[in-house]
Symmetry: C2
Subunit: 434 residues, 2 copies
Amino acid sequence: MKKKMENPPRSMLRHVLVVSLALNVSFILRIMLYQTQQTHHKSPFSISSSSSTATRRSLVNSTRSDRPPDKERLINLDHGDPRMYERYWRKRGEKTSITIAGWESMSYFSQGENICWFMEPELAEEVVRLHNLVGNAVTQGRHIVVGTGSSQLFLAALYALSPTHHSHQPITVVSALPYYSSYPSMTDYQKSGLYKWGGDAETYDDEKDGAYIELVTSPNNPDGYTRESVVKNKRQGLFIHDLAYYWPQYTPISYPSDHDLTLFTLSKATGHSGTRIGWALVKDSVVAKKMTKFIELNTIGVSKDSQLRAAKILETVSDSCEEEESFFKYSYEIMAHRWRKLRAAVEGNALFTLPNFSPAFCNFFNNYTQPQPAFLWLKCERLIEDCASFLRQHKILSRSGERFGVSPKYVRISMLDTDENFMEFIERLSSIHL
Amino acid sequence: MKKKMENPPRSMLRHVLVVSLALNVSFILRIMLYQTQQTHHKSPFSISSSSSTATRRSLVNSTRSDRPPDKERLINLDHGDPRMYERYWRKRGEKTSITIAGWESMSYFSQGENICWFMEPELAEEVVRLHNLVGNAVTQGRHIVVGTGSSQLFLAALYALSPTHHSHQPITVVSALPYYSSYPSMTDYQKSGLYKWGGDAETYDDEKDGAYIELVTSPNNPDGYTRESVVKNKRQGLFIHDLAYYWPQYTPISYPSDHDLTLFTLSKATGHSGTRIGWALVKDSVVAKKMTKFIELNTIGVSKDSQLRAAKILETVSDSCEEEESFFKYSYEIMAHRWRKLRAAVEGNALFTLPNFSPAFCNFFNNYTQPQPAFLWLKCERLIEDCASFLRQHKILSRSGERFGVSPKYVRISMLDTDENFMEFIERLSSIHL
């Protein structure tokens, strides 16, 4: 590494120039955006509760784009807050607004003929329309169940798929490594007698270990790879397919997904995570009914306001697919740009390894596209055993591989933060050398 | 009864005249409101899943005010959908509307300095302002935790108050009879190892039975009486006070409630049940943090759209308290009118017994007021053992006392449905004689 520093190759010089130009643009933007407004978040969900208030505040400020540049502040890329999309929605202007009068949507109930009695029919219609346009999911012969984000639907699915017999042992819930860091705690926090976390799906043998629920996340969070179920003997398996990232900006849409129980969420599709809307496509009406029952007991339905807003957002996205520049094309370009910047920043730096993806044909874009995941799954090489701590020394907050069931040599880093934070991250990453 | 029918007393004739006049008005209104629009709900949460589709549709139609009069249709007063309030909010007009632009409230996070990191600060402000105006709760020294309705906060509170030690037995959750019908299933549906339903609080002895959580609902759902904790030895007791109905339209506000953990909900305060917003006032910051953690694991926060809408609604209500006719005065008058109608309808009918309440001084109205609960807790007398079945023969759907842990001679009936349904209910109740 030292040698390289003394004698940088041409590619590295070119790279420094590109980064430097980008940083100047970023710096000017930040000066323009700088406001004196004092705004703070507190206690972001993905940060351990032991963080001090001061640390939390500094982490939290890093998600605001109205902060002055500050080399000392932490860039918080630990969670996946999809701030990247804000610019698109500002660009679309007033026509994406919704207005709800004081007397509207006051009832617990929604109209329509759905098993999910609290689902707004216009949301169901827009979900079907968008899946049909994008081609990422079969909706025919499916019941739609709306949830307060896909987290609630994940819990509803565990509840619905668990055996109901009273004497039954809790069913084991497994997922292949590395798995989404929240799966273990979401499965076990209630100490439910219906289901329990069982860890890695690769080592699960249903002949020996009995019935199970396998969580299949594709593209996978954290590593972005396409996945299928991995348990060897699948005779007693039930499946939850979490396809939060199966959208054209993140991965080629090679086929319409066609599973028994599939989860999607507005947060990752359009960036509206504060709206807390997810939906499940469910083949079996008995399962759809049990999921609906879960949500009834958990929250007596799902916010009508957010359902109506989600319907409007999805409608706008579908409409854009019929225009010159679709929402997905716009988002794809940003992701492509970010992944290019990222690869350039670590190119030739033996400290870091990025995942490698193969292009595939995307039916939506009618072209070959590259996977460009919402998270970077970064490996620290050489003697760095704890990648998260190492990056933290450089004021980059990431999520350790340990949280995903694997080695702390890995970290997950959000690729969806604000332009400002992303550029600052690239700048810092570029400057790290042994 | 037969004798009475042959020779009705003067009071009864007067009563028939009043009801008949009211029904004529109601009938004309219904004709005016009749539209041919074919709209259906499905599977209301409070109806057992075994109901046939045809029955469900007929139940469900009963909550619509755009149906023609139909003596055969069921009046569904089983659940507590607060449809009564719609008229008020229509009257207030456009100034109670909110508009949310496509780019607003996209983040998981909220600003502000709260333990509850996903709570919108304007909602917290309006909650405090309203409690201070109404005088129904001490907010000083309290942390506010927002939830997806108070149901989610109830579960969050169970989670937060349960012992964390791994080897610990689940803590027992009790409530005095008759208790809210959903408490047992909400407590037990996950088969949690943290807490379990223990039934009647009156028979619980913590010296013998150990630590417990007592649910104190005041005014009580279903019977409307003011309550305090009832377990005899309270050394090991933890308390959740559910004060959903502690608002001036339902009961005299005698003192500001001052408990460790208190739940409120927009649904019953202002009628916005579709918005799914509740809040907890929590003394202990450790408990507030654990409740926040629960909501993070359950739904990663609470819809921002609904929080902003709730803030607007509460603001309107507080503003109205500074005007000539407050929201609470308006609602109080409707409730008073309905309870008068109800008492007139069963006066002298030995088949039914209503609860009796004593007036008390209401600090909000600066006057003595009567409790006039959101539910009627009706007892069928004589040989009627199953009051719900009996009323169902008269096309009135109520919730059996058995669901509340007591005799089926009792039923709970919503007092908050549309004017149309309420008047139809009064008409049918008046016509029932042995």
